[in-house]
Symmetry: C2
Subunit: 421 residues, 2 copies
């Protein structure tokens, strides 16, 4: 261990903590001014940011990244405009801080108030597109938190250029110093050092591949808001509108395959399995989706491969889908609660009782009736920008936006009250 690195990380986190104490009382007006000023600056800094992005793209092509990865990395005027618009959208959202969540005046006259407050210092580790730098900073600071950003090395120059713009604006507008900081050492040890600092850092949010999330969860000494895999199911009940069900399954599986709310597993109710699977297979063919089935599914679609035990728990993030024929809604619920990842699961049915049974018994962050799993998304829910989708059950579940980056405190006011017993 480099003692300097350890010391640098401690200083970074300590600065963030000091900033967080100021941020908790910052006015909405100032935070919004920063967001709107940053948006303008992003637009005005187009040339600089695209230059930085060119460096990342050059390195990516040298390192032979896949075309898809390079596309995710690429910025252009349109994508920059959308980053700027994202900042303006966060400015337009209500400030969650200060909301009164409850309270009472007790029989003895003690006044109890439960008030929404920021969490404090958030350490955000991400592997994704450069726009996430702006989104995450905007959401964290609008909700009154200091943020420590650690982006993926592929997007380093682009993220840094965007960060510099946000930081320059923060200084100009009067956002507390060090409210946003970036870990710029390429040393992976820095992450490990920061994960030790539970006195300074209140929450870590890893957003990226499963190995990143697992590593962070294992090492962190502070709470982790995890975004694990989305092994999402669609169950097609005997009372479903089968044409609608086909459309939803196709949308959930194919509309965007590499995302956590894409469907990975199809459960079909036995009485309609034959008719439904035959027509679905025809519809899916043009999308090149490989189906892997249980015995019953294989006897209906003889060409498909057998699903192994592992398939049921798999998040493919690609053109594969597991298929199982179930005896009834209860077998579907059991299967989902056994193999699912508590992310998003849907039932297709026109039977209101089975819809109720499914939604009350499937233990997932989002349960859907007659809708594509793809709708589990902060924007689609009307919650505004999100920093991730939690598959944890504690603190926050599903899309995490401004409100999910807050906690609460109790403010109690008396008149010299003392306790007798």
């Amino acid at each position: 261990m480099d003692p300097n690195l350890s010391q640098q990380c401690l200083e970074l986190a300590t600065r963030a903590k000091a900033a967080a104490l100021e941020l908790q009382v910052l006015s909405s007006a100032l935070k919004n001014r920063w967001l709107i000023d940053s948006a303008r600056r992003i637009e005005e800094s187009q040339a600089t940011i695209l230059q930085a992005n060119a460096k990342d793209l050059h390195k990516a092509s040298e390192e032979s990244l896949t075309e898809a990865s390079i596309d995710r990395l690429r910025l252009d005027p349109k994508r920059l405009a959308s980053i700027a618009q994202g900042l303006r959208d966060v400015a337009a959202l209500p400030d969650p801080v200060g909301e009164c969540l409850g309270g009472s005046i007790r029989p003895n006259g003690l006044q109890i108030q439960k008030v929404r407050v920021p969490i404090g210092v958030i350490f955000f580790i991400y592997e994704s597109r450069p726009n996430v730098t702006a989104d995450a900073a905007a959401i964290a600071i609008k909700s009154g938190n200091a943020i420590i950003l650690r982006g993926g090395k592929e997007a380093y120059h682009s993220s840094k250029a965007i960060f510099d713009v946000l930081e320059a604006s923060a200084e100009q507008i009067g956002i507390p110093k060090n409210a946003l900081q970036m870990v710029s050492t390429p040393d992976r040890q820095a992450v490990g050092e920061l994960l030790k600092l539970s006195k300074q850092i209140d929450l870590v949010i890893p957003r990226g591949g499963e190995s990143l999330v697992r590593r962070v969860s294992a090492e962190a000494t502070m709470p982790v808001l995890k975004h694990f895999d989305g092994n999402c199911h669609v169950y097609v009940d005997r009372a479903a509108d089968l044409a609608q069900a086909r459309q939803v399954v196709i949308n959930a599986k194919t509309q965007r395959m590499g995302v956590c709310n894409a469907a990975e597993s199809l459960l079909v109710d036995a009485p309609i399995a034959h008719a439904f699977l035959l027509s679905l297979a025809k519809d899916l063919a043009p999308f090149g989706i490989e189906l892997r089935g249980d015995q019953a599914a294989m006897s209906i679609l003889p060409g498909i491969r057998a699903a192994t035990q592992e398939d049921w728990g798999q998040e493919y993030l690609g053109p594969i889908m597991s298929v199982k024929v179930v005896a009834d809604v209860d077998e579907a619920i059991d299967h989902i609660n056994t193999y699912g990842s508590k992310h998003t699961d849907a039932i297709m049915t026109n039977d209101i009782q089975r819809a109720r049974r499914f939604t009350s018994r499937v233990d997932s962050a989002v349960v859907m009736v007659n809708a594509s799993t793809r709708f589990n998304d902060g924007g689609q829910f009307g919650l505004g920008a999100e920093i991730g989708i939690s598959t944890d059950k504690l603190h926050a579940r599903g899309p995490c936006g401004l409100t999910e980056l807050t906690t609460y405190k109790y403010i109690v006011t008396g008149d010299g009250h003392v306790r007798d017993s």
Copy 2:
């Protein structure tokens, strides 16, 4: 490692998970029937429970436990009546499950509902009095959770006797099998095994000494709701009613010393330090409280010992209090945010601006104005029974009762909705 123990723990947790899936849809009526029936049975089983308690007391005296520890262990008809009443009180509280926390109908017609649901399986590890067995089971099951209880070995027979009563009632009333289970092997390894089972156990709550909480936090693979130390402060501002301030400090320090919401540290505003400390020291003398002060406090009260750096962060849980003279409310806030444990901190003042400054800037679960820190308690807040007081900032902060043992899910209903972009 004993492979049998590992297997037994897995089976125990798997049974709890199956029970949790049933508990999430259990009616309030049935849960309340169980609580009321259990209360009656506790009263009727007085002889059996007191016999079991006698075994624990006999062992305690053999092992020369302190008189205070033995008193905490002791049950008598009055204490049993209070356990029964506690169960009836939980029955009378509103059921948090099913509460609608928000939602909307989106422009595309998709209906979004955010609904309160149980957490799932809770593993509760406690070192305290036998009544906690009944309290914890009542709170967990009323909020729709399965609970795995692991009590301290000192109270084993008493806890087991109470547990047997609750379990017999559960079976009779029709509470899902294994909704409440007790880890009865004395093997400490069992705790370690259970802490590995993050697939089955959703939350662990350690309640006891600091070493227990630290061990559980370090080993747990699932979220932990921690109840760490309460290093609670009272700050006496220059604008305080000094007579009131003396009463509150005395109450906060002496009314019950071994509890987390007792005051451990006193901060006094410089302009009133001399007058206040001299009269306070006189008032505290009969309680045998040792003061440990900074330079300024020592010059006012020459007899007292110097406080070390460690004293400022100390939870004494006994007749010691650290004292510091501060230049103003901001120094008090800084000191608390540096050395406090984010539990409960109070300001004594009649100046409304400084009261606001203190409550908005002190980053603690509970901040008080002109009231004793001893009021941080679920009962005193009108929240009913509590399973602990969280010093975490995530998920739940302060007193944890029924609501804090719940999470939420989104229920989304469409009409064949698919996503375009």
